[in-house]
């Protein structure tokens, strides 16, 4: 499909034509750009048709089952968009509450922030939250910065952070970027082995980052012991909230001893992923870590008024220009109000039910390396299929031809030919069955005609794309390359 630049016609007016006003009247010529920019000149219908056609070349939850493991692609309720589009929110300039005596002009927005923080505290059992981090990985970095501030304030000399081998790649990357040495420990039988932890645990360890349930979809049942071990060396326990959808109402990370947690509101709390963002990654902390939270923090006065407080001398400072992705956590707030405590618990229960149901239905057809009760997701391995030359990648592509988005593949790294399935609670049984049936059919086709699977996809606008050519040729804009 041609790009909008290729469709551009010089001189064609967009929805707002130029009236010939000259900037030279105000700004000396030597400070102005001379040449044309090369932005598209297209009529409004040209633009509408171009982007409508582009959208039709995309899978999304609205149109396709999207069981992308670890990403919690649940349905995004439409009413939350109505909330986020309310002019009372969209028109608010972020510096408004910084003007003396103007806090009363944005009480509604401050209340949303305060209430969202209180709800997240109750859902996860943490003492306080910051809503500022703008995505999960950003929350992780904030969390590790909090860890560093805590230890520095206590005079602890800590240099290392422990990360299990099943962790998301962002965990070690966040720890390293904050200046820590990353120590990886091997899992045993799919979960953290307290013995392996004991071997690397010493008083240089600042903390450990873990996901629970972990990326294999398994619950870390040694959690209480792990908490005790870390407490002994004054190390903090960090909870990667990517998989919170598995435990709402069943476990609160604060109660079991986590000190820092980041949530992915775009996963658990149903805000749309938008093709890779914007997300929102609030960070919750235990009481002992609260003094270090980013500023500003929203507070409620006795008279019910809300204000922003910047007076936290131990704070790590500013991780966002203002208060984070307000327009995103506003939707999550609306979603939580809609579901309530019972609804959130039901979401978790049905997410776990769906994952186990699919796992059980698939166990005769695919290797399930940890075939026991899983939480909200499970991993399968295409090891039998690989013997026929059909790899996890091929199966993923064949699923696209059937109209499903593929599961996550080749992650976690510790499972061979890994296929990681997270159905979520919002898909009906017919959809789950349809997907399982299609996956079984692909396994059967692998036996009969492996080449057919290797050729997939054949029903989409493009067949497999040459990633090596892309990386070598490096054509990143219309102006690069030949």
């Amino acid at each position: 499909m041609k790009t909008i630049f290729e469709k551009s016609v010089a001189g064609r007016e967009g929805c707002w034509p130029c009236d010939g006003l000259a900037a030279e009247a105000y700004i000396p010529k030597e400070l102005l750009r001379e040449e044309e920019i090369g932005l598209p000149s297209a009529g409004e219908l040209d633009v509408v048709r171009h982007f409508t056609k582009l959208s039709q070349r995309n899978f999304g939850v609205d149109g396709n089952f999207y069981p992308l493991g670890s990403c919690t692609m649940k349905y995004n309720p439409k009413f939350t968009e109505v909330v986020a589009a309310m002019p009372g929110f969209t028109r608010l300039h972020p510096v408004l509450p910084q003007l003396k005596g103007a806090g009363h002009l944005c009480q509604g927005a401050l209340e949303v922030m305060y209430e969202t923080e209180r709800l997240l505290c109750e859902i996860t059992g943490m003492h306080s939250y910051t809503l500022h981090p703008m995505a999960g990985a950003h929350g992780e970095l904030t969390g590790v910065m909090l860890m560093a501030a805590y230890h520095k304030d206590k005079g602890n000399e800590k240099t290392k952070i422990i990360v299990p081998d099943s962790a998301h790649g962002t965990n070690p990357a966040s720890a390293a970027i904050a200046g820590y040495e990353v120590i990886s420990i091997e899992s045993r039988d799919g979960i953290i082995d307290p013995e392996a932890l004991r071997e690397v645990l010493d008083d240089k360890v600042a903390g450990m980052m873990m996901t629970c349930p972990n990326t294999l979809g398994l619950f870390e049942k040694n959690l209480p012991e792990i908490v005790r071990m870390l407490r002994e060396v004054d190390a903090l326990l960090y909870y990667d909230g990517a998989n919170l959808n598995a435990v709402m109402g069943k476990m609160r990370v604060g109660d079991v001893g986590f000190d820092i947690v980041h949530l992915n509101l775009h996963k658990t709390f149903a805000t749309p992923h938008g093709g890779g963002g914007p997300g929102s990654g609030p960070v919750g902390v235990s009481e002992r870590v609260a003094p270090y939270l980013p500023i500003s923090r929203v507070q409620k006065l006795e008279d019910g008024q809300f204000f922003l407080d910047y007076d936290y001398p131990k704070s790590i400072g500013y991780v966002a220009p203002f208060y984070g992705n307000f327009g995103v956590y506003l939707k999550a707030y609306a979603y939580i109000l809609r579901l309530g405590g019972t609804g959130l618990t039901r979401a978790t229960e049905n997410a776990v039910l769906a994952a186990n149901y699919m796992r059980k239905r698939l166990e005769k057809h695919f290797e399930i390396p940890y075939n026991r009760t899983c939480m909200h997701e499970f991993v399968a391995g295409a090891v039998h299929q690989a013997e026929k030359g059909v790899r996890a990648l091929d199966i993923a592509k064949a699923l696209l031809d059937k109209g499903h988005h593929a599961p996550t593949i080749y992650f976690p790294l510790i499972v061979k030919e890994c296929i990681m399935v997270e159905p979520t609670e919002t898909e009906n049984k017919a959809t789950l069955d349809h997907f399982v049936d299609d996956l079984i059919a692909i396994a059967e086709l692998t036996e009969a005609d492996p080449e057919a699977v290797q050729k997939a996809p054949v029903t989409l606008p493009v067949t497999r794309l040459d990633e090596t050519l892309a990386a070598r040729g490096m054509v990143l804009t219309e102006d690069m390359g030949s």
Binding site: T468, A471, R472
Partner: protein, 126 residues
């Protein structure tokens, strides 16, 4: 393919010693494991490395791997053709796909001969 006249590091670099000049590359096994290379990052002429130090990296679409000096020395030449043609490392790892030449300083330790290297990769493959 493991040429008998070369020495190998456990991190899969090979080294060919000619007087006080060492030519360095990565093994057939290493390039196969990485897949089609898309980028080779090399040091500048004049940089010096101890044995075992990181001197660059190679990237494919799905993997990246650091390169470690199998022998210490000063860089006297780099294979500039790899900038535009990283595939040479895949096509000809022991010849046209060489990476750098070092002026050797000090004796290398713990390098493997072809047989020992063959044993190493056989054990890694299992």
């Amino acid at each position: 393919m493991i040429p008998a006249d070369l020495k190998y590091a456990k991190s899969h670099e090979w080294v060919r010693i000619d007087g006080d000049i060492a030519t360095i590359g990565i093994s057939e096994f290493a390039q196969e494991q990485l897949g089609d290379l898309t980028f080779v990052e090399l040091p500048a002429v004049g940089d010096t490395f101890e044995q075992g130090a990181e001197f660059g990296s190679v990237e494919s679409v799905k993997a990246a791997s650091e390169l470690y000096a199998p022998i210490g020395g000063e860089v006297v030449e780099i294979n500039e053709e790899l900038e535009d043609a990283p595939e040479k490392v895949n096509e000809s790892p022991y010849d046209e796909g060489w990476l750098i030449k070092l002026k050797i300083s000090g004796e290398p330790e713990g390098l493997l001969d072809a047989d020992a290297y063959k044993a190493l990769i056989e054990s890694e493959a299992h």
